[in-house]
């Protein structure tokens, strides 16, 4: 967050952002590992009285009292009953029975969403600058639901229950579970209740990428956030004995390597166990790695643990190379020894040298922080990907936001690697994940809420989605680091968030609770299932035809059968399938006429929008349109992507389209 406000255009457009007084009325609830209240990110200098709507508390517990809260950090609760019922009493020698964050994750996410301005922030001199949350004047309430043993659904439900009572405006959840139907998923259930009360719920999409169908938190009333990179990097390079140099990234700061080439060994050849190349605990033979640079392959155990394993075995440094699962994605870590992370192509080239030279040597050179990296953003390899495995007709993720190498506040209880043997303490740490992208959107949603207090959660999400961008300034499409090719709506959703444009989207796709109930009817949910999820007796009308395609979502996901003998939806022709979607746009800008434009990447798909123009004469006026998707036969697992845009010449209201044959 010493870079993301600028990367998102917030710094350059401060004049168009909502007044700080209105932002300070917005409360962001963060369900996570708690908070380190002493972090400068929660300094309340200049903050006025706590909003009168606030009903929350700062709960007293171990190493945490009400005095740890202030006008910035206005609430701190913790939820242990579910956790302790399953795993036994909290071991207070390892974690506090309070909202105190001894993990770091919760402090990082909360400060990313709404941290105060902290000049001179850095991690070991890397990423130096002014750290700040996306909504610096918003208030923070933390709900600690994650403990050393995990985050239990009974605690999560209790926390959301309380957050609703407390009157938060935005909820940020950087966590997820296994895929399950909405009526069984506590996050989806809690989010539904929050949405009903006008609370926007932003959740991380998951780190299961680049595999397809790897998304978490896909309910349509949740804002699901994937991760992209920044234009910032932490370059380092490896120089090997044959004179060649290879680029990578590093956050190492400490004792330098000797000013000479060091012997170089592949971990797989310095171990007598299967999988020795992964540098798992206790697998390296000290006599074979002592004083050497060790090359380890990424995967299975944490990256920073590999560094610790090499150090413990006497290694002088580590080169950590990606495998196919991560491709060229470079995630920097604050390793305990001189270390560098490298992409798969570079790693393979180094391995070719390492395994062919009789006396291989190497050294690592660290170059600090570099800005202006292009292209950026690119979709992070780890960012979970669609299609949506619960409801394929709802395109997820909704959008991407910065989630790679993010600097934000950190706990004072553990070091930046969070390893037990890491006795370093830092005020800020640099970490990666959709956990980091989610609170960026939570903070941006708080800004939109402040600017438009009457907007529903769906309207806020719509504004963020329809103004997201899918191309770089040079016109080329956003890339996916996992493939090096253009990313698709299954990777980036509507695109990368652009908060300044989102403040004035022109039109929004709004959704009410009833719309979501109709959606559940379209899913053929039983009355019992709807009651369990939505907490009401709602019977679907047997005389009414419900369609998932009618959910007024700001994106389009269309599924055609690969066997074209059958047809879907209304209308059909021999050898082709037809699917119709209906949408309604609400004018939140000036009166005017919007004209539609459609683009697809494949001529086998026809997209017809009717009508082609929509005229709005007053604020909050609603106009509907229909999209007919027609397609000829395509092999199974084929995907075609496109885009539908409405424009009045000033605003562009864009929707991604994903068409699949299954």
């Amino acid at each position: 967050t010493t870079r993301t406000p600028s990367f998102l255009g917030l710094d350059q457009n401060a004049a168009v952002l909502p007044e700080s007084d209105s932002v300070s009325e917005v409360i962001i609830g963060v369900l996570d590992t708690g908070v380190w209240p002493e972090s400068k990110s929660f300094d309340d200098t200049g903050f006025g009285p706590i909003p009168s709507s606030w009903k929350g508390e700062c709960e007293t517990g171990t190493k945490f009292t009400a005095s740890n809260c202030n006008k910035k950090l206005i609430g701190a609760r913790y939820f242990t009953r579910g956790y302790e019922a399953t795993l036994g009493p909290i071991d207070e020698s390892k974690e506090s029975r309070s909202a105190r964050d001894e993990d770091g994750h919760g402090t990082h996410t909360a400060s990313t969403a709404a941290g105060s301005v902290v000049p001179g922030a850095n991690l070991f001199g890397y990423a130096v600058g002014t750290a700040r949350g996306m909504a610096t004047r918003a208030r923070v309430a933390v709900y600690k639901v994650c403990w050393i043993g995990g985050c239990f659904s009974s605690d999560i439900l209790a926390a959301v229950d309380k957050a609703i009572d407390d009157n938060v405006n935005v909820l940020s959840l950087s966590l997820g579970g296994s895929m399950s139907d909405y009526y069984r998923d506590s996050v989806a259930i809690g989010a539904f209740a929050a949405m009903e009360k006008g609370i926007l719920v932003s959740c991380s999409a998951g780190n299961g990428g680049p595999s397809s169908y790897s998304l978490a938190n896909v309910a349509p009333w949740i804002t699901t956030v994937g991760a992209g990179t920044l234009d910032r990097d932490f370059p380092a390079y490896v120089s090997v004995g044959n004179g060649k140099n290879f680029s990578g990234v590093s956050l190492y700061r400490g004792n330098s390597l000797p000013a000479k080439m060091l012997p170089f060994v592949y971990a797989g050849n310095a171990s007598n166990v299967t999988g020795g190349n992964l540098c798992m605990t206790g697998t390296l033979i000290p006599e074979m790695v002592s004083g050497k640079i060790v090359l380890c392959d990424r995967g299975v155990n944490p990256r920073v643990q590999k560094g610790s394993v090499v150090k413990a075995a006497g290694g002088a440094g580590m080169i950590l190379t990606n495998t196919a699962a991560n491709g060229e994605e470079l995630v920097a870590d604050a390793h305990l020894l001189p270390a560098i992370g490298m992409g798969q192509i570079t790693g393979d080239a180094i391995k070719a040298y390492l395994l062919s030279d009789r006396n291989p040597t190497a050294t690592i050179i660290f170059e600090g922080t570099k800005l202006g990296i292009e292209p950026s953003p690119v979709v992070a390899a780890f960012s979970s990907r669609g299609p949506n495995s619960i409801t394929s007709e709802v395109l997820k993720p909704d959008m991407i936001a910065p989630g790679v190498n993010i600097l934000a506040g950190w706990t004072g209880a553990v070091g930046p690697t969070a390893l037990a043997e890491d006795d370093r303490r830092v005020e800020f740490n640099i970490i990666s994940g959709t956990s980091m992208s989610c609170p960026h959107v939570s903070g941006l949603a708080a800004l939109l809420k402040a600017a438009h207090p009457d907007w529903s959660p769906a309207a806020i999400r719509s504004a963020l989605m329809t103004t997201a961008y899918t191309a770089y300034k040079n016109g080329k499409m956003l890339q996916d680091v996992a493939t090096g090719k253009p990313s698709t709506p299954f990777d980036h959703g509507a695109g990368h968030v652009d908060p300044i444009s989102a403040l004035n989207p022109g039109l929004v796709y709004d959704l009410t609770v009833e719309d979501y109930l109709n959606f559940l009817c379209a899913l053929n949910y039983t009355t019992l299932q709807i009651n369990a999820l939505a907490k009401r007796n709602f019977s679907c009308d047997s005389r009414k035809t419900y369609s998932v395609n009618d959910l007024n979502y700001p994106s389009f996901a269309v599924s055609f059968p690969a066997d074209m003998g059958s047809t879907i939806g209304s209308g059909s022709s021999t050898g082709s399938s037809v699917v119709k979607h209906t949408r309604t746009l609400t004018n939140v800008g000036s009166p005017g006429m919007y004209k539609v434009s459609v683009s697809t990447m494949n001529s086998s798909v026809k997209i017809l929008v009717e009508p082609e123009t929509l005229s709005f004469s007053r604020a909050n006026e609603k106009k509907s349109y229909t999209v007919t998707f027609s397609a000829t036969s395509m092999p199974s697992n084929t995907n075609v992507f496109g885009r539908i845009e409405w424009s009045n010449g000033k605003n562009v209201v864009g929707s991604p389209v994903a068409i699949s044959w299954t």
Partner: protein
Amino acid sequence: AAKKTYIVHMAKSEMPASFEDHTHWYDSSLKSVSESAEMLYTYTNVIHGFSTRLTAAEAQKIEKQPGILSVYEEVKYELH
């Protein structure tokens, strides 16, 4: 028998008139299958219901009680 945590969803509209407070009704439903079980949380906003520790047999039994919508085993979530 080993106990696990379950989240019990209740149909609040089916609460018998004899109960003045829904938490008493929840408690009564729980006690009908287990004298020893205690509620971990009662929920108001997110669901009508509560969480508790039950054996598998008790969970099956409470699912059949009047006014119970569903009984789901607790799930563990992870940070992203």
